[in-house]
């Protein structure tokens, strides 16, 4: 008994010590979960300060999924085809709607029919750059992300075998999969390859370059005065750069910035169902399942209690089109977001994360003036360029695989 108590106290002390210095804590967690290379970068950051914002380069292309125009075209068809899903009603584009910023313009994403999602739908624009996808970074590539999206119970709810079987009965897909992947029949893993290839072309580069990147490349006319002042705040007094930094506008790390739980969970039966389901789906213990009243974020993967309420620093490009904001969509405008940060990670009603102890010490009242706030919002708008639009491709039709003569012959041969 005594022994147990003693160890407990020691653990508590150790945890408290961890909370004392956030940088140290962050570095520690990193080394526990990420390869050594990552912590080296972290160490460098610690001494040199955060990496400055930099223009977006080319999207990385993994060697085992080279881009070809044919593959991208196939991936586009599949991205827009709801037959890649359980009841052929809900495909990728259903929740990543081009006209809604390639996301879904409600706090929680729409779900598979009969359900609602429990997180905000992220834009697929620039997703190719992120080795950690989803709000809590649980997928390490577009390929892995697509697979879990198509199969998840409140997303695509599709099974491999039925999706593969469907594609085999669509002549256009048979032809294209054969051309692109050389297989006689479409194979489900190649569906994820093709969709990922398509996503890797959906970036804010080239004609869709954002004003900030133009500015960073030397075109000083790309930002107006207000935005230039906003940039100074972003990099200085407002401290946004501490997390939203470098080429990707994110440190790809996990932080609790104080986002309060979405009130819909208190009022909406359907949302309550998904909330509890997700606790199980994300591997909660019985105890955690009973207790959870907000999204525990990165905790579901690390199982460290100090990770409760931490999410991947959200990238900022293209956000002009992707409201509402945050993992649970609690803020509908960038003004609200800036006010939230200015209050030190607290919303209009004084609500904040259910895990205040885990809140990043970098999040504190900023003392921004009204002018500052306007400038900062103006600068956030410079992270978005022209809207990326695309005509939805037509769904290639089904056709029977066998004709009557073949079936009769088989019947005769029985």
């Amino acid at each position: 008994m005594r022994m147990k108590k003693l160890t407990l106290t020691l653990v508590a002390a150790a945890v408290a010590a961890l909370f004392a210095g956030c940088q140290a804590t962050a570095a520690k967690q990193e080394s526990a979960t990420a390869p050594a290379k990552m912590s080296a970068t972290k160490m460098a950051m610690k001494t040199a300060g955060p990496a400055p914002l930099a223009p977006l380069g080319k999207a990385p292309i993994p060697p085992d999924n080279k881009l070809t125009p044919e593959k991208v075209e196939l991936g586009k068809l599949l991205f827009f085809d709801p037959r890649v899903g359980g009841d052929a009603s809900t495909g990728c584009s259903t929740c990543h709607e081009p006209e809604q910023g390639w996301a879904w313009a409600e706090d929680f994403s729409r779900g598979y029919p009969g359900t609602v999602h429990w997180r905000n739908s992220q834009s697929i624009i620039n997703s190719a750059y992120f080795p950690r996808q989803f709000w809590a970074g649980s997928a390490s590539s577009n390929e892995k992300q697509a697979k879990s999206a198509a199969k998840g119970g409140v997303a695509g709810n599709g099974e491999d075998d039925i999706m593969e079987a469907r594609l085999a009965l669509i002549p256009e897909y048979r032809k294209r999969f054969k051309e692109v992947f050389g297989t006689e029949w479409p194979i489900i893993d190649d569906v994820w390859h093709a969709i990922s290839a398509f996503e890797r072309t959906m970036n804010t580069t080239g004609e869709h370059e954002v004003p900030l990147d133009k500015y960073l490349k030397g075109d000083k006319s790309a930002l107006n005065e207000e935005q230039v002042r906003g940039m100074a705040l972003f990099n200085g007094k407002a401290g946004c750069i501490n997390c939203h930094n470098g080429e990707l506008t994110t440190d790809l790390d996990f932080h609790n910035i104080g986002v309060p739980p979405n009130k819909r969970w208190e009022e909406d039966g359907l949302a309550q169902i998904t909330f509890r389901f997700e606790q199980y789906a994300k591997g909660q213990t019985e105890k955690g399942y009973r207790a959870a009243k907000s999204d525990w974020g990165f905790y579901y993967r690390s199982k460290n209690k100090w990770d409760k309420g931490k999410f991947r620093t959200a990238p900022l490009r293209y956000i002009a089109y992707t409201a509402p904001y945050m993992h649970n969509g609690v803020f509908y405008t960038l003004e609200e977001v800036v006010d939230f940060y200015n209050r030190g990670g607290v919303d209009e009603e004084g609500r904040t994360t259910l895990f205040p102890k885990n809140k990043s010490p970098l999040i504190k009242p900023l003392g921004l003036t009204d002018q500052d706030k306007e400038d900062l919002v103006a600068f956030l708008e410079a992270f978005s360029g022209p809207e990326i639009m695309m005509e939805k491709p037509e769904q290639p039709p089904y056709a029977p695989l066998f004709n009557m003569a073949e079936l009769k012959a088989a019947q005769e041969a029985k």
């Binding site: 037959r83 009841d87 598979y112 075998d161 208190e266 039966g269 066998f402 019947q411 029985k414």
Partner: protein, 368 residues
């Protein structure tokens, strides 16, 4: 969707193969007679009834068990090929569920030989039947106060997917033959003659015996393929998904239902199906695993010709040379095995389900 257990496959195959050999030789067959009474827990069965008719038990909340197992159609469906989960078709006739609790082997190919709990799991989770993630199902049940009370009353405590798979089988136990002229001993003369033929000249008893009128073993009777399985891509995709999952070789080119072959992967079992029960057939037309035979008279004609064409066909089937009257008598006997429809409140949940899920009050205060 479930994980197939190879040992299960082998075991089942061994048991069934042995049985086929036996029944071919034995001269005496288990007597046709009344079905034994089943003990039923009313609270559990009542819960099972509400679940059976509830569309919220499917992935997109669009189909219930009763969508395919229709009370008015003898708990089968009127289509030759069963409807499928939205976005899908099916490749087999929806079996009648009357007396299903008396069976030991389920599905037309007999792939489930354990219990109705496993059968229910398969129906709930299979892509082309209900496509349900049972963790979501469980949370849906917890969100409906009527269920919360009913699970409690049934002694299950909190709603769980495990108890759903117990309550529905308990309900299925209530779907039993009632009042057939055969059971009441009130058959017409024609039906009585038919029964003699059934046991004698027509040889039906060789496979259709015992109180359920089935040996529950697999035979090839040569029922022709239903081409709609292959000509309608909705059906064909379900068939492909099924045969792919079952590990049938060359499934993309398959142009016939492999039946029991699916369990043994032995050529000799190609096209065999488990003998169905002959009770309560009056309402469950069309007949056979693929609904290829429309009426009982057509079934009798089929057997009179010695069954269909298949190199693998059972030796027990030979042309019967039945007269017109004999055929009528046989049909009369088959009809005398049906009682009243099970369509009253006793078997059918007729109260409406809530249109929306009620929110749990003071959600932030109460444990999930």
């Amino acid at each position: 969707m479930g994980v197939r257990v190879t040992t299960g496959r082998t075991l089942l195959a061994a048991v069934m193969g042995f049985g086929v050999a036996l029944s071919a030789q034995a001269a005496e067959y288990p007597a046709i007679g009344k079905l034994p009474q089943l003990k039923i827990n009313n609270a559990k069965a009542e819960l099972g009834k509400r679940l059976f008719f509830d569309k919220r038990l499917s992935g997109d909340a669009a189909v219930s068990c009763a969508t395919c197992h229709v009370p008015d159609k003898g708990y089968a469906s009127k289509e030759a090929i069963s409807p499928g989960y939205p976005g899908n078709g099916h490749f087999r006739n929806a079996s009648s569920l009357i007396n299903v609790a008396h069976k030991k082997v389920w599905n037309w190919d007999g792939r489930i030989g354990t219990n109705l709990n496993d059968m229910t799991r398969e129906m709930l989770t299979e892509d082309y039947t209900m496509n349900m993630d049972m963790r979501i199902m469980q949370e849906r049940m917890k969100q409906d106060p009527v269920y919360v009370q009913m699970f409690k009353d049934a002694g299950y405590g909190e709603p769980s997917n495990g108890s759903v798979r117990k309550a529905i089988p308990e309900y299925m136990k209530t779907l039993t033959s009632a009042n057939s002229p055969f059971d009441k001993g009130k058959m017409s003369t024609s039906a009585k003659n038919g029964m003699k033929l059934f046991k004698g000249k027509a040889g039906c008893i060789q496979c259709h015996n015992g109180p359920l009128l089935t040996d529950q073993k697999a035979h090839n009777t040569g029922v022709p393929e239903n081409f709609d399985v292959f000509l309608d891509p909705m059906n064909h995709q379900a068939f492909i998904a099924f045969t792919m999952f079952q590990g049938i070789p060359n499934y993309m080119n398959l142009k016939r239902d492999p039946g029991y072959f699916n369990i043994t992967l032995l050529d000799e079992d190609m096209g065999k199906f488990v003998t169905p029960s002959l009770r309560e057939l009056k309402y469950s037309a069309p007949y056979m695993h693929n609904g290829m035979i429309k009426t009982l008279a057509d079934v009798v004609n089929f057997y009179n010709q010695g069954g269909g064409k298949d190199s693998n066909k059972s030796d027990l089937l030979k042309p019967l040379k039945l007269s017109g009257k004999e055929k009528k008598d046989l049909v009369a006997f088959l009809e005398a095995l049906s009682g009243n429809k099970l369509t009253s409140d006793k078997h059918v949940w007729k109260q409406p389900y809530p249109a929306e899920y009620e929110a749990i009050a003071n959600w932030t205060e109460v444990p999930n």
